[in-house]
């Protein structure tokens, strides 16, 4: 450690490493969700509490199915990136790594499950 220069120790530690790309991805997914979320609320909402035949028929139609698939995908990618920032703010070391991996796994699992369910209803 004693042989490291100040310059060497600082290099790669700044926000210019990969933070800009992470932030840009948040902007892209939030712009997408700005359109998707209002459409999804009024597409999914009326189906809650409906009998099964109605729900299955509804989500086998292109618009509700594609919209729901897009909202779940964009939503969970946005959650994965956003929750990662929160984890990085409040935790350190091994806990941080475990939490980020857990959030990533949960997000992709939810996307896969949602798309599987939609495909099953559409076919």
């Amino acid at each position: 450690m004693a042989f490291l220069t100040d310059r060497k120790r600082a290099s790669g530690m700044g926000s210019a490493k990969s933070g800009a790309e992470h932030h840009w991805n948040m902007i892209v997914s939030s712009a997408a969700l700005l359109i998707l979320v209002p459409l999804f609320v009024f597409t999914f909402g009326p189906m809650l509490g409906q009998p099964h035949e109605v729900v299955a028929e509804y989500f086998s139609r292109p618009f509700p199915a594609i919209l729901t698939g897009l909202t779940i995908t964009a939503g969970f990618i946005h959650f994965k990136n956003g929750a990662q920032v929160a984890i990085e703010d409040y935790t350190h070391g091994l806990t941080r790594n475990i939490l980020i991996i857990a959030v990533t796994c949960i997000s992709y699992a939810a996307i896969a499950t949602g798309l599987f369910a939609l495909a099953r209803m559409a076919l």
Binding site: L4, V37, L48, H52, A86
Partner: protein, 127 residues
């Protein structure tokens, strides 16, 4: 000179020395609502999976989501969703370089609070 005063530097002032303000409160709630939405989102995905199977599985999931607790979670999620959407919109406006002064930020804070409540009531009325 490379190892002088490592990890023993003065810290910049943090949260605890500041008086809570409208901007800080609305900003913190953006994070809280965003993370809390996980619960509602997971329930919706589970409900969709159950709907793809039908029968008893769907009835169980549908019962959970439309029970009193389920209604409460869905209502809370609806408000959290609208709040997070409006607050996120403010972040996009800020990122574009507009509305960064205190007056505009405060104005947008009230729009976020009022707008999210209005949109939640609107959602209840429509859905």
């Amino acid at each position: 000179m490379a190892d002088v005063n490592r990890g023993n530097r003065p810290l910049s002032p943090h949260l605890q020395i500041y008086r809570p303000q409208l901007n800080s409160a609305t900003s913190i709630f953006t994070r809280i609502t965003g993370n809390a939405l996980l619960l509602g989102a997971i329930l919706v995905v589970w409900w969709l999976l159950a709907a793809s199977y039908g029968g008893e599985y769907f009835e169980t999931a549908d019962w959970v989501l439309t029970s009193f607790v389920g209604d409460l979670i869905m209502l809370g999620s609806a408000w959290a969703l609208w709040y997070h959407l409006l607050a996120g919109l403010r972040h996009l406006i800020w990122d574009a370089g507009y509305g960064l002064d205190v007056k505009s930020s405060d104005k947008m804070s009230w729009i976020i609070i009022g707008g999210s409540l209005f949109l939640t009531l609107f959602t209840i009325a429509i859905v």
